[in-house]
Amino acid sequence: MANECKYKFSDKTPKHIAYVKNASGLLEQKEVVGVTPFGKHSGVLTEDKLTDTIAEYLLSKNSTNEPYATWIVAKK
């Protein structure tokens, strides 16, 4: 599915170890760039899952502890 989001992650967005499905359908650990708005145990939101709604919602939660305004920027 093409990502038509107006936003993307910046190069300051942190990296996390996430579980992703491999070719065999099993989960394997992999380092990905993303954010964890519901805790690391609830997965990593990666750029391919970013939508305008999600990005603007996260930007509305921007804070010192969760600097989404630093991590999520508008595409040029």
Partner: protein, 337 residues
């Protein structure tokens, strides 16, 4: 997968006991925090009954029928899942585990490995199953939620809900939170509360939003049925920190603090701490949240054996079925921030 080990060849003593990783206890099962259904193999019907009645003026003539008997069936087939991995005891022959191996080149099984490491492996399975019961999503559900048009109203999916669904790694079944958001091919009818990032400074205010949102019918059930709050583990610490500076500790009351039987309440409503996502709180009657399985004790059983009789590679295998169902959805509150 073989044993992932950084082992040192044993030359002297080993410290007892083996230091195990810290795991959450499966309180959902052990404390019966939800309703359990066993002997659910496949295509089991769960029926909800919702009737409406209409008072009308008396007439001596033929009356008109008014009202409905609402019956909604949901066919449930628990998902069959498994945990499986192989290991090679030969890897442990020079380690501390050789102390519990019987003499002889054929005897490579370690009693200590079985009683400690494999037991801990079983506990890890239990923790993972509990976590996924609350916090999991199928790929199809994830796609469906992403396709919905978000909105602030109760009839729309929330931005926080879409963000939550998109964050998860897709798994084998929908957990409770995902099910409350979307089930049976449509948006769930949960009572949605827009939340925020929880902390010790706002936990009282945010818990108040959940409490205020509890439907009055659910909050005023007769007999022993009482709504309970389900919160992520970190909320316990938020509450304890809040109480340190609270003038009166009657908003969040805690009994037997620090003891195995400690209990937390908000305005008299019991709070259960379960592996929910952060910034998520559920308020529901325990009778509305269902853990459905073939046999509940399957969670405690796994088989250990050789992969083949002519090999020294062993396997550990665990099989179970599970389905997370939520009933009377409009009586349950989902706070997500």
């Amino acid at each position: 997968m073989a044993i992932s080990a950084t082992v040192v060849d044993i030359r002297g003593k080993a410290v007892e006991p083996i230091i195990e990783e810290l795991l959450f206890a499966n309180d959902t099962i052990e404390k019966e925090l939800v309703t359990f259904h066993e002997d659910i193999k496949a295509s089991t019907i769960v029926t909800e009954n919702d009737n409406t009645v209409t008072m009308q003026a008396f007439t001596s003539g033929a009356p008109s029928s008014s009202g409905t008997f609402g019956l909604t069936d949901r066919e449930i087939t628990p998902v069959k899942v498994m945990y499986y991995q192989t290991f090679t005891p030969e890897t442990l022959r020079t380690s501390r585990f050789n102390r519990s191996m019987k003499p002889g080149a054929w005897n490579i099984e370690s009693n200590e490995f079985g009683t400690v490491v494999l037991k801990a492996y079983g506990n890890a399975i239990s923790e993972d199953v509990q976590s996924k019961f609350w916090n999991n999503i199928k790929s199809a559900t994830q796609t469906a939620i992403a396709a919905l048009t978000p909105g602030a109203g109760q009839g729309s999916v929330g931005a926080a809900e879409q963000t939550y669904a998109a964050s998860l790694t897709a798994g084998e079944f929908d957990g409770v939170v995902s099910y409350m958001i979307y089930n049976n091919g449509a948006l769930g009818t949960r009572y949605k509360v827009a939340g925020t990032t929880l902390s010790s400074t706002n936990i009282a205010t945010e818990m108040g939003k959940v409490y205020a949102a509890i439907p009055t019918r659910a909050a005023n059930q007769p007999g022993g049925m009482k709504v309970e709050i389900y919160a992520p583990y970190e909320v316990k610490q938020f509450i304890n920190i809040y109480n340190v500076t609270a003038t009166y500790r009657d908003l969040f009351s805690v009994t037997n603090l620090g003891q195995p039987n400690e209990a937390y309440y908000y305005a008299g409503v019991k709070i259960n701490f379960v592996p929910l996502p952060s910034n998520c709180i559920i308020a529901a009657l325990p009778s509305n949240i269902h853990w459905m399985t073939d046999l509940l004790s399957d969670i405690n059983m796994f088989k250990v054996d050789r992969v083949a009789s002519n090999q020294e590679t062993w396997f550990v295998k665990h099989v179970m079925t599970i389905f997370a169902h939520v009933s009377l959805q409009s009586m349950n509150v989902l706070y997500l921030g």
